[in-house]
Each structure stands twice: as C-alpha cells, then as structure tokens.
Amino acid sequence: MTAPAAKLTKKDFESDQDVRWCPGCGDYSILANMQRLMPELGIPREDVVFVSGIGCSSRFPYYMNTYGFHTIHGRAPSFATGIKTSRPELSVWVVTGDGDGLSIGGNHLLHTIRRNLDLQILLFNNRVYGLTKGQYSPTSRLDMVTPSTPTGSIDYPLDPIRFALGSGATFAARSIDNDARHLQQVLRRAYEHPGTAFVEILQNCPVYNDDEWIEVEDRKTKLEAALPIVDGEPLVFGPKGARRGIRIENGVPAVISLADDADAVAEGVAVHNERHESPAYAFALASLARPDFPIPVGVFRAVERPTYEGLLQEQVEVAIRQRGRGALHSLLTSGDTWTVEA
C-alpha cells in the first residue's frame, strides 16, 4: 500500500457511474461533500471501502471511486463487521438509511454499534421509504399519510441518535445534508473517532417527503430551529434579539430566554460535553425535537473504548505469543493417538 504520489482531488473519488438519484435529492450534496472530504483525510483510495444495504442511500458506494460493496437490505453493518475484523487497516464506511438501518437492519445496527468496531456508519434520515415509493419508515412522524398508511401512520417514530446511544455508541453525531461545512466537519470527526462513529444526516427526499427538514435546512429558519452543539460551549441558539438557551434540570431540558449580552453559563444554560462517561446527558439532549425545541446538530457523544477488531487481533497475537504460531501437524496429532504398525 504505497502512499499516493500526488495529493488526490475530489475528482479522484468520483466513479464513472451516472448518479441516479432524483433531481434535488439531498443525497447529491452528501455525496459531493464526501468526495470533497476524502482527499483531505489523506487515506489512500485503495484503503477505503464503502458498504451499503438497500435503499436510495445505499447506491452511494457505486458513485465513490473506492472499493465498494452494495449488499442486501439491512445487513450492511454485518458485512462491514466481517471486512473490518479481517482487515483492521481498511477505512470502512457504512451508508444506510432510516428504513434499511432501523427497520430491517435494526438488530445489526444495534449490535454493530455496541461492539464498537472502528467503522463510520452514516444514516441518511429522510423519514420515508424512497426506493419502494413512499411508504412510512421507522422515523416517520405519527399520522403521516403514505400509500401504506392512507389514514395516517400509527407507529411511534424512533430517534436514530437515541437508538445509537441506547446501543452503547461511543460516538453519535447529527448533521444536515445541505450544510457543507458542518457535514464535512462531522464526517471528519467520525473518521477520526477510533470506534463506531454513528452519524445521522438529515436528508431531504423531495419526491416522497419534501421539506421534512426544511426548518433546519433553510438559512432563514435555521437559527431558530437548529441547536449547534459544540464541545465546551453552552447550548445556545436563536437570532439576535431572540437568543435562548437549554437548561437541563434533573435530566429534563427546558428553553430559557437570554439577553443578547447575557452570560449563558451564569444563567444556568448547560455546557455541552461530549465526553460524559454516562450517556444520560447525551440522551437528554437527543430528546430535543421540534416544535418545542430546536434540533441539536453536532457531536452528541465521543468517548473512547477499545475496538472489537483491536481486541480480537490482540487475542490472536497473545495466542501466538503464548503457544507459538500454530502448526497443522501438531494440531492433528494433539491428544491421544496410537500407531498401527505395518
């Protein structure tokens, strides 16, 4: 694996395949940002693997000029587990969606996150099934009218970040499809995190669930609707003249108004800390949702723990150190044997 001779560019990460998402789909922007970020990360192209399941988002690997594996519905984390466990040196990215990752693949997502393999798992959340033409997904809002719920959905939605935290995620973050700077920052953080980095990307599906996230995508409403979370900074949002903060008491968050020049921390606004050992704070933060609260965007939690593939590799190495490299002949003749003479 030789180092690239010249610094790669975005173009180097574009495959020759025509991108086949609907016009205006949020996936385009996510793809472009990923292709832009890749050369910045400095990983040799051949060491990058994108793995996906089934759904609109899962076409992603076809468009990245890296190694790519488009697998079966919901199981991408398991394929990625096999890849990463076998070859810890590879940079393995899982691309999934709310249906693929949380419905059919919920079990794999849970267990993969809890094992803390050093993977990046990007979940494009458009709150709808796109590829199968518009049915409600596990993140769809209650009452959503879709072909399979003509009188409204009666399924309570699942929140991806809380799902990840509940599964023991060492890294959980949220970003927005059209916020290039933020998205690249979060993806970079995900890449740098040694362990499973779970990233929910709020993504617009203009065909089946248009403007689901418009409040946080639109520059005009974003200040109101999004809560940027930054390690060490108070949880403050809102435009000039309508500044507010989040106070968390007994685990219950509340919005408080702040004067433009007020010291937020002195007013009791919570200061964001990604590194709490307990996920309780991150969980409380992740429960903030519209319309009563702004939607937090940024890194909810980033703690370090040994990775699964690292521990397994260590077991192999310890076994070799203690017992010597295995030899087939000694294995076959181990235990009780007897000789039959000619």
């Binding site: 395949q17 096999g82 079990n107 009780d336 039959v340």
Partner: protein, 615 residues
C-alpha cells in the same frame, strides 16, 4: 490377590450407556471410546441425547444414551442392536431395552429401581423379572457401591452420587479389558483444582474396576483384539471436530486466515467452539447476533480476502439464503456448513436427518446455483472441508457442505494424514491493474478475479444488482442478464470437470446399485457388503458431490437394472436423480431422527433382489 478371572476373546461388541441427561452418559461413552481407541479396535459411536439440557430426572424425555461398537475388524456403523445396555434408571431401561440384541446383557443400577422412578418411567411393576427371560440381567447397587467407595474422601452425598458414572465406566473397562489410565489422566487434569472431586471420581473409577474382578456377577471378562487397520498414526475424531480442523487446515494449505462467522445452533455450535480455540493459527471467529449477520460477516471477510465460512443447521441455513444469493451474485468464495438436523422448523434439534438437500440446491430466489458437497464419515468431514474451500476459491463461488447430526457427534478412528501429502493451494489475489475488469472470467473455470481492498488501481464496486459482463457495472440490459445467469450456472457446472470418476463399491454393473450421500455411507456399505457376501448381486455408489453431479454418474447408474436410494428424508436425492437422468430410481426413506440400521437397508436390497422391490 485371587487368580484373575478368565478372559474370553470376541471379535466385536456394541455397548450402550443410558441414563438421565444429568448422569454423565456422554462423558462415560466418550471416555470408554478413547480407551477403546487406544486398544486399537475399529469403532463407531452414536451419541443420542435430548435437546433439553436437564429434562426432569427419571423421565423418558430426559434419557441420554451413548452407543459404541468396536471390533477387531473393519466396521462401518454403531451397530443395529447393542449387545450390552448399561441402564442407570428405569427410564433409561425402558427407552432402550427394545433395541438390545436378544440374549444380550442388561446391566442396571438397581438402586434406581424405586417405586417412584418405576412409575415415572411408566412401569407399573418392576420389569426386570420378565426381562430375565430374554436377556442376561445383572443388577448392581451402583449408587450404594459408589457412595461406599468414595466415603472416605469427604464428598457430599449428592456429589458422591454423581460420580457413579465413573464406577460404571470402571466396571465396563474391566469387563472389556480397556485401560483406565487415559480416564485417570483426564480426571487428574479436569479436577486439578478440586481435590475432593478428583479423588472421589478416581476412587469411583477404580472401585468399579475392582468390583468387576471380585464380584460373582461376572464370571469372565472379554477382550476384543486390535483391528487390522491400515498402518499409520490414528486418533479418534468426531465429525464436527474434523470439520473445524478442516477449516484450520484449509487456512494453512491456502495460506490465508479463516474467518468463521456463526450463531449458536444445535448441532453445529461445537464447530464454532472448536475453531475458536485455535487463535494461534490466526483464525478469527465471530459469534454474530443472528444467522444472517453470521453469513454476512463471513462474506464481508471473503470480500476482504479471508477464507470466509459460516456454520449452522437447517433453520439457520434458511435464514442465510438471501445472503447466499448475494454471494452467488458477487461471486465471492465462501463455505457454508449445514449440520443437518430433524425438522422442519425447530424439529428435533439433537436428532439427525438429511432433508436439507433440496433447500440447499433450490432454496434461494431465482437462478442461484451453488456447489454442494457432503461428507460421509466423521473423518471424511476433514477432507470435505478442504475440498470445499479449494473449490470455493478456484471457482469464486459459495460452496455448501451438508453434514448431519449423526456425523457431527459420532466418533471413529481416523488415520492422521501426513501434512506434507495434503495438496497446497496458496491463494493469489489479483494485483495487476493492467486489463483488470471485476467480472472478466477465467477461460477454463469462468471464475472472476479476486481483487481485495487495499490493492491500488483495482478499486471497483460490486453488489447484488445485476452486473454488466466484465465491468460489473449495474445493468438492466436483458441480454446481459441472460448471459450472466447462464455464466453463473455454467461456472458451477464446470466443477464437474474437476471431480474424480465415480467409485463403485462392488461390481460396476449388475442387478442393483444402492446410491447414497452423506452420513448414511457406513450403513449402506455394511448392508451391501453383507448382502454380496451372501450371494446377492448388489453394488453401491456414495456421492460426495451433489452439485454438480459427477459427469460419469449417469453411465455408472445405467449399468444396473435397479437403482435404490436410501435417504433420511422423503426422497430428495432420488427425486434429483430421476429428474436429471430420467431413471426409475427406487427410494428407501426414513425420518425418525436416527441413522439407518443396516438391516433396514439390507431388507430392501433382498426384496429387490428377489424381484419385489418397487414401492
């Protein structure tokens, strides 16, 4: 010391140990088997245990049994009818006595024949007096004797009671002149940290042995001389152990580490356990959250350049089918092991069957061909696994290995191969970027190149969507799809070019050929050989390759007037042979969760020979 009792030489014996699942019958049987192997007999075993870890004590549902057949000549089966039944309680007697050879010996723990236990086993009265007419009944106060033997060691009475299986083992070792030293060594190391248990079990074993010599119940002991096996170094091996070792051997011979992704399931779990013990061979094992994740992780590992494998049984195999379809589509090597058990659904997890042939061949969506191999003896499991990996890599395809619950747990003496004589197939990945295309096919095998992540210049995408020839790009072109479906089928069909010619046991033409596959080999060949010795014109063919079938199989079958296929299912191979060759195949089926008895097959052979064979 009194003069030793006389020793009578016999050429074969079958013994069945039976008791509660908590009585340690499997352990007793296994230790007796090890001792027997060291004497140099040929042997074959049949462990038969309930699925419940601890069924209520004393009930028929909780009976666990272990049969061993050993001889001074070549034997193929655990024997239809044991000569000796060692029954630890009335339920064990009741569940097994009908199998015992008439005139055989019943050794029973008379302490356990209490009114309560009799009732629990469904006996109104003590059955022993009546049984004395048909069998030689030996009543032993096993619990009392054991308790006495271990008295001074300080075992609590429950623990003392638990060591009675060692008393039984010691006694049977005396009766058949087997050494107790291997078991003593085992007890020493197993109970290293618990001196009381170690001493107790050792004393129970030795007391059992001494009891045989002193009691008047046994006037003679028996000896089965060493069998004339092919020269070489031998060991005992069970099917699952051989499968696990086959995986490790494949890794050594192909010079790539194995990755085994599996989910616990009876009777395949011990393959995962066994492989997991050998991390120093560089193997990686992964206990997945479910069967699907298990196979998916293995495919991921193959994609990354490992020897990916997954191990399961029927219900788990079915869950893997979609992922296996993907492996067929992306043409990656993979070995999927199915240790078949009685089904459908949960069925009888600890009982054997071979009813997953058709689901393996045809159970995936669409045209999804996969090579299928079946081992035929415990030792053959090793070689089948080697071959499965070799074919998987050579043809870039998933390969199914169909073992079964009988092979999994049965033991036989296995001649340890000289590692130097095993063929090595070091793996060469594609590294040359010049002219690389992900789906460019080898002219002879039609295999596509194996290009793994980390290789500069070979970055490419694969997936479950239909791929364009050569490039692997997504394609909906109708002609391309037609070509790709045919290429995938042709690739698997071409494996037939690699297969050895069909071997016929007996004359290669005549009145009747018995065709089998998998774990029924011993019973079929024993029946065929016996019948031929008695003058019946009959041969047999045992198939290791179920897909593709050997190219010369049709011709081989056509040289016989009748084809009989015995199977532990309702006729799956016979259906396949009829469909492939339009031959009037006759079918002998059994689905009792038990292997064939030799006499069942023999009976059908004689019926056909006598002219009345059709169904």
């Amino acid at each position: 010391m009194a003069a030793r009792k006389p020793v009578e030489e016999v050429d074969q014996v079958a013994i069945r140990f039976a008791g509660d699942s908590g009585d340690g019958m499997q352990l007793t049987g296994t230790k007796f088997t090890e001792a027997t192997a060291l004497v140099g007999n040929d042997l074959s075993t049949l462990p038969d245990f309930p699925a419940e870890i601890r069924a209520p004590a004393g009930t028929l549902a909780g009976v666990s049994a272990f049969q061993i057949h050993f001889a001074s000549r070549d034997i193929r089966t655990p024997a239809d009818h044991p000569d000796v039944l060692f029954a630890m309680n009335p339920a064990a007697l009741r569940a097994n006595v009908d199998d015992v050879r008439r005139g055989g010996m019943l050794i029973v723990n008379s302490d356990a024949f209490t009114p309560r236990n009799l009732k629990q086993a469904g006996y109104d009265d003590d059955p022993l007096p009546a049984l004395q007419e048909r069998f030689q009944v030996v009543e032993i106060q096993l619990s009392t004797l054991t308790r006495k033997a271990v008295e001074s060691v300080g075992l609590r009475s429950r623990e003392a009671e638990r060591s009675k299986n060692f008393f039984a083992l010691g006694l049977v070792c005396w009766l058949y002149n087997r050494p107790t030293e291997p078991t003593e060594r085992w007890i020493e190391s197993r109970f290293k940290k618990n001196e009381t248990l170690r001493e107790g079990n050792l004393r129970a074993l030795q007391a059992g042995h001494a009891y045989g010599e002193t009691t008047e119940l046994f006037p003679v002991s028996f000896f089965v001389p060493r069998a004339k096996l092919e020269p070489g170094v031998y060991r005992n091996i069970t099917g699952n152990q051989a499968l696990a070792w086959g995986m490790i051997a494949a890794s050594e011979l192909m010079e790539r580490p194995v990755f085994l992704g599996a989910y616990p399931i009876t009777p395949a779990s011990s393959v995962l356990h066994e492989v997991s013990r050998y991390r120093h061979f560089g193997v990686k094992t992964f206990q997945a959250e479910d069967e699907i994740a298990a196979v998916a992780s293995a495919i991921g590992a193959s994609y990354a350049g490992m020897l990916g494998a997954t191990a399961t049984s029927g219900p788990g195999f079915v869950l893997k089918q979609e992922a296996l379809g993907l492996a067929v589509m992306v043409e990656l090597p993979l070995v999927v092991l199915n240790v078949q058990r009685a089904g459908p659904s949960t069925g009888m997890p600890t009982k054997t069957e071979q009813a997953d042939l058709l689901v393996t061949l045809y159970g995936r969506s669409s045209e999804s061909p996969m090579p299928v191999l079946a081992p035929s003896t415990p030792g053959d499991c090793f070689y089948t696994m080697l071959e499965a990996f070799h074919l998987a890599v050579k043809y870039m395809t998933p390969v199914a290995v169909l073992s079964d619950g009988y092979l999994a747990n049965a033991a036989e003496p296995w001649r340890i191969p000289d590692v130097e004589t095993l063929s090595r197939h070091p793996i060469r990945f594609r590294t040359d970027a010049k002219g690389f295309a992900p789906y460019a096919r080898d002219a002879e095998t039609l295999a596509r190149p194996w290009a793994i992540p980390g290789t500069p210049g070979l970055e490419h995408r694969i997936g479950g969507l239909e791929s364009e020839e050569l490039t692997g790009n997504v394609s909906y072109d109708p002609r391309n799809h037609d070509r790709m479906v045919r290429q995938r089928a042709e690739k698997v069909a071409r494996i037939a070019n690699d297969l050895p010619p069909v071997e016929v046991n007996g004359p290669d033409g005549g009145k009747l050929v018995v065709v089998g596959w998998g774990g029924t080999r011993g019973a079929i060949e024993a029946a065929v050989d016996e019948a031929r010795r008695d003058g019946t014109s009959v041969s047999s063919i045992h198939l290791r390759y179920l897909n593709p079938l050997p190219a010369d199989l049709r011709a081989a079958l056509e040289r016989f007037e009748h084809v009989l296929v015995p199977e532990l299912n309702l006729g799956q191979l016979s259906r396949l042979l009829r469909a492939e060759y339009l031959l009037p195949v006759e079918s002998l089926t059994k689905v009792e969760g038990q292997p064939f008895r030799v006499e069942e097959i023999r009976g059908r052979i004689e019926a056909i020979a006598a002219g009345g064979g059709s169904e």
